[in-house]
Symmetry: C2
Subunit: 446 residues, 2 copies
């Protein structure tokens, strides 16, 4: 039976389970489903078992490392993990051993996590379809780029995972696979030791099976980092305390515009149902207008992504064009074609929109949109990031979690968007909504 | 014929040579001597030729990248170079491709350097004998750990090279191979993208064939780095201007103590001769006493090196003990055996000695010692770093350059030590001395 991370942590504390038991449960799911789902680049069974054994011994001695003590965690294969290769979906890098942990990986390790292996990323965290399949329907995409993390969580192969988002790479796969994901405020989580896609929009973030679990992992990985100038020196509040202190029924701002016009009927119906349920439970749901600068956010996001990805990849693309899959290659070529003034104008627009978005939060605690335009499409694409890339562009934090199924049984997700640096309030809102909507944890049966 | 970097740069400016000619000269020396000397982990002939061709084209258009435009440079294999593996002498890492340049490598690239390949380092920049041989006597060590950089320079296989020093890893191989090396003030040159040995004493630095060349390379690589908190925010003066503005005959403080008692007779004679020559040319040479805290500097240095090396290597040593050569392994085991209070006491001693060393510079411009206790010993060791490790420990800048030969024809070196952050004055002193001592550039004939 699939459990959440926070429930498993409670069981550990109460002596009802051990890190070795948790690991065995994950490995059993991997044995059962990995051949079809292909969520992992590799699983380090021996290493994970040694660590789980150590964590189990430590508990016997009353020695708890931190909030992730003994939790099997999957790491998206763009994060450096000490002594493991970081391939990022590249054939060139498949034997490139990391000399040290990425900052977020180090923090997870210090908090007691047991690393199971590397989860599949689309190549260079872009749009090319990965080998991973959607565990709810093997002909469908799990979404990308954090494809393996989302699919592994859905199958109960791990209790938490690292993802990252530059377009919609946390929220989209979470929605398609029926799990939860948090894209933090830009600068909240350090990027040192992470393969970049577009540096000013890359957001590492937690993925898990429910919102409370996201809070546990975010608490561990958030914060400034002397190795990463982009990780802001902003204090990290106590997320759990904020969640547990309770929240009055929230005021929610429903976004329409593109979030309605681009949504499939099944998603529009889901939103109407969700808003009615939240309202019935006491929440206020009001329509919120998007600022004028929002109009061309999608094309602007693409320009920033293409130019900044090209900045990192250009020298490698010139030397090894054959290593690049078609979509990332197209993106890079797009970036190389753009003019510098276009990029500069777009960065100006990005600053302006960040500022203008503040007005959307007047009188509401969070904004509400679907996680994706529809359920997972077939495996020839990774789906459309249209409902996510505006938040990667503006750097605002988002939380997504499952809230229903399409008629054919595919997961649908809800996305809440918060103020910059407002993850604590946002998590509290999301927990309130999740409790109301009560999506049960289910296990895919493919 | 072997040329210096600054002379080659003058020839380039005057149109007397091209980057392609300089590269061909280096490759010819590699063809002639590499089989015996083994200075390189690999030479990227194709990549270097493409870069040299670009630099040659750029000159035709009047487009100069910087002070190293078109200069073939060797990179010690502990520095990350984009798209090349960084093995650091480890079998585990031999296919670990670097995703980006180390900060110093990026700076060299931006200054127009042409990277020839990776030069051999002892394993993990420690003491185990490398495959490289001393080009003046193939049965002898080139010194370590920057073995390949020193040997390649001596053979005219490159015009400048990156080295690094934690014990005596720049000065000792420079002395044994008859080339020049500069170990900067700790914090002057950034460590981002460099495999650590002992983080608080690791110093990247330039190696070249004369002191003026060291100034050219240091100018390029020095300075603060947002990616490296240890790289201090201290302004970098114009070294060339300082050197060319001339220096009155310097006041030099000759250090005796261990620098005399541990020196072989041939080195003591060299020092007497050198001091007489410098005095005759107008320099003042006075004896300077070492502070009391200097007494146990060698054992203290070893403690810091062993403990900090173990801090980085411990997890890898546990997983892959078979990958470690005997000397580095012994060092790490030594570090793991030491007590934390011993380390803490040593860090206290290190701070005290840094402070006490200031008094040594009262009334003198620089301190004077031999570069090494003797000429290169046989290839079973990399030689004794006893005259160099005090400066790694105190973080004071040093410059070494060749100043004679032993009766059997092996190079001997002189070392000058400066005030913290005083590289400009130190280089001016060293140039003055080098001009007086007039060691001619020779080519090994093995």
């Amino acid at each position: 039976m699939i459990s959440t991370l926070h429930a498993a942590a409670d069981d550990l504390r109460a002596g009802r389970t051990t890190p070795l038991d948790l690991l065995d449960a994950c490995l059993a799911q991997i044995d059962r489903m990995e051949e079809r789902v292909r969520a992992w680049v590799f699983v380090d069974r021996e290493g994970a078992r040694a660590e789980a054994e150590r964590r189990t011994q430590e508990i016997r001695k009353g020695d708890w490392r931190g909030p992730l003590h003994g939790m099997p965690i999957g790491i998206k294969d763009i994060f450096d993990v000490f002594d493991w290769p970081t391939a990022a979906g590249s054939r060139l890098w498949k034997n490139s051993i990391a000399r040290q942990d990425a900052t977020v990986v180090r923090k997870l390790r210090e908090a007691g996590a047991v690393f199971l292996g590397k989860t599949v990323t689309t190549q260079y965290a872009s749009f090319d379809p990965p080998p991973t399949r959607n565990p709810w329907a093997l002909g469908r995409t799990p979404g990308g780029s954090s494809s393996g993390s989302a699919a592994a969580l859905a199958c109960g192969m791990c209790f938490g995972a690292l993802g990252s988002q530059t377009g919609g790479s946390i929220t989209r796969p979470a929605a398609f696979c029926g799990v939860a994901g948090l894209k933090p405020t830009y600068g909240r989580v350090a990027l040192a030791g992470v393969v970049p896609l577009a540096a000013s929009m890359d957001h590492p973030g937690p993925m898990a099976r429910c919102v409370r679990d996201l809070a546990v992992v975010l608490q561990v990985i958030a914060g400034p980092d002397p190795l990463d100038p982009s990780a802001a020196d902003v204090a990290v509040p106590d997320y759990r305390e904020r969640i547990e202190s309770g929240i009055r029924p929230p005021r929610l701002g429903r976004l329409r515009g593109l979030f309605e016009s681009r949504a499939e009927p099944v998603v529009r119906e889901m939103m109407d149902r969700v808003c009615a349920q939240l309202h019935a439970a006491g929440a206020t749901v009001v329509d919120v207008a998007l600022p004028a600068a929002f109009t061309d956010v999608l094309i602007r996001h693409l320009i920033v992504m293409a130019v900044e990805a090209a900045m990192f990849h250009e020298p490698r693309l010139r030397r090894h064009p054959e290593d690049y899959d078609p979509n990332i290659r197209g993106l890079l070529e797009e970036g190389l074609r753009r003019s510098p003034t276009e990029y500069a104008r777009t960065k100006e627009h990005q600053r302006l929109l960040k500022k203008e978005m503040e007005a959307c939060f007047a009188g509401v605690d969070a904004l509400l949109t679907p996680s994706a335009a529809g359920p997972a499409p077939d495996a020839a694409t990774t789906g459309d990031p249209v409902f996510n890339s505006p938040w990667s562009y503006t750097g605002l934090p988002t939380v997504c979690f499952p809230c229903g199924r399409s008629p054919e049984g595919l997961p649908l997700g809800l996305q809440v968007v918060g103020r910059a640096w407002g993850e604590a309030d946002l998590l509290a809102v999301a927990v309130w909504c999740e409790d109301v909507l009560g999506f049960p944890l289910e296990e895919p049966t493919v």
